[in-house]
Amino acid sequence: MCLAIPGQIVELAPGGHLATVEVSKVRRTINVDLLEPPAAPGEWVLIHVGFAMSRISADEATEQLRLLAMLGEDAQAMAELDGYRFGDDTRGKPS
């Protein structure tokens, strides 16, 4: 549900329960007890009501954006194929 924001851990407080995260140049102290394995500076996490809920994977995000970018490419490829059909109603129609 609800409002959870991506933030980057900038430092861990002694004791291991709290960390400082940064979201668009704003810093907040949050609890990191829900993260297993324990949080490390530099990691991106999802923040909700002052707690880190999960890690955010930059690799998965990149992969996802790549798949989204490919949606357009697939469509272009299909349009080109359409253009090569002969004696077909679909020729010349927008895809």
Partner: protein, 348 residues
């Protein structure tokens, strides 16, 4: 604005006055229109403005008053003293008047350390000098402990109307453009963080300042192509533009990405679930300018020190009437409403 009711008839139905009635949004408007105006200003016509226009012979005057209540009294970028001077100077400026003089009334809570009062009076003096306005009189009262959050300040200002400016909501036309003088949301977020209720840290400060240099620059640059101005204080840019939309009965389209917002304000708003458009500003003005004068107006604003972030943020349309719509870069549109009560952070 709809015509006002019969003198003395109050349409205000709330049983008690709540904080929402002072937040600057819809509830405030209901209180003013439904209770205060019918009793005090029943023969007035036209939209409610922040400043009143009076004439004394050939001289056109603008008169305005405002009360300042803020917690904490001091915050990064300023204090209640700055707000009290700049706020009233700004109301005169956006009415197209050159500020002449202020009166200031202080209500002090008994037990307030003298140093606090000294600091605020000094702040007011300094702000008045910066704004080029004189404080020519005032009043001081002391109330019992627990009654005034330390200090309340009311300032009343008088200014000389600039005859080159013909400002009214009625002169706004479809096709006119909307400009702002700089980044929005700085003041409200600064004060919220300064209260210390939430563990957020950001290097932000209030934008409190006189906007008279900007108002004057616009009048000089484009004269009567300047239709209307206002300072978007409580309730933010969204509330101010909604009031305009209502008063001129036209539509307003904002380009979301064109509205200048600092990263820190954006970050704080995302974390708290707030909309920067609803956050108070104390050092900005919104101006409506005819389409052909827009570039010149923008250049004039940017030439004023502190106007580097001035931007064109939208335009006036014929429809949908009385409505403010924000358009995202991918074309999605949403209605931006007036603030309902105080902006409350959310978790959901």
């Amino acid at each position: 604005m709809a015509t006002l009711t019969v003198p003395g008839t109050s349409t205000f139905r709330d049983a008690q006055i709540d904080m929402a009635h002072g937040a600057g949004g819809k509830a405030s408007r209901r209180l003013v229109e439904g209770l205060i105006v019918p009793h005090l200003m029943a023969d007035a016509v036209g939209p409610l403005n922040d400043a009143a226009y009076l004439s004394m012979g050939d001289a056109g005057l603008a008169l305005t008053t405002d009360s300042f209540v803020v917690r904490p009294l001091r915050f990064p970028g300023g204090s209640i003293g700055d707000l009290a001077v700049n706020g009233t100077v700004n109301d005169l400026a956006v009415a197209g008047a050159a500020p002449l003089a202020l009166l200031c009334s202080l209500i002090v809570e008994a037990g307030t350390p003298t140093e606090i009062l000294r600091a605020e009076v000094a702040a007011m003096g300094a702000a008045a000098r910066r704004a080029g306005v004189r404080i020519v009189g005032g009043d001081t009262k002391v109330v019992e402990h627990g009654k005034a959050d330390g200090l309340y300040i009311t300032t009343t200002g008088i200014g000389r109307r600039d005859s080159r400016a013909t400002l009214s909501a009625g002169s706004v036309r479809p096709g006119d453009r909307i400009l702002v003088t700089g980044c929005i949301g700085d003041h409200g977020i600064t004060v919220l963080l300064a209260r210390g209720d939430i563990d957020l840290a950001a290097s932000l400060k209030s934008d409190t300042r006189s906007v008279y240099p900007f108002a004057n620059a616009l009048i000089e640059a484009v004269g009567s192509s300047l239709r209307w101005m206002r300072d978007p204080t409580r309730g933010g840019l969204a509330t101010t533009l909604n009031e305009l939309a209502r008063d001129c009965e036209l539509g307003i389209t904002l380009e979301e990405e064109a509205v200048p917002v600092r990263d820190e304000v954006r970050g704080a708003c995302e974390l708290l679930g707030l909309d920067p458009l609803h956050i108070a500003n104390e050092g900005q003005l919104v101006a409506i300018v005819s389409a052909d004068a827009t570039e010149e107006a923008l250049a004039a604003l940017r030439r004023v020190p502190g106007g580097e972030s001035a931007a064109i943020v939208g335009r006036v349309d014929a429809s949908p009437p009385r409505t403010v719509v924000a358009v995202a870069s991918y074309g999605g549109t949403r209605v931006v409403d007036m603030l309902v009560g105080d902006p409350l952070p959310r978790i959901c």
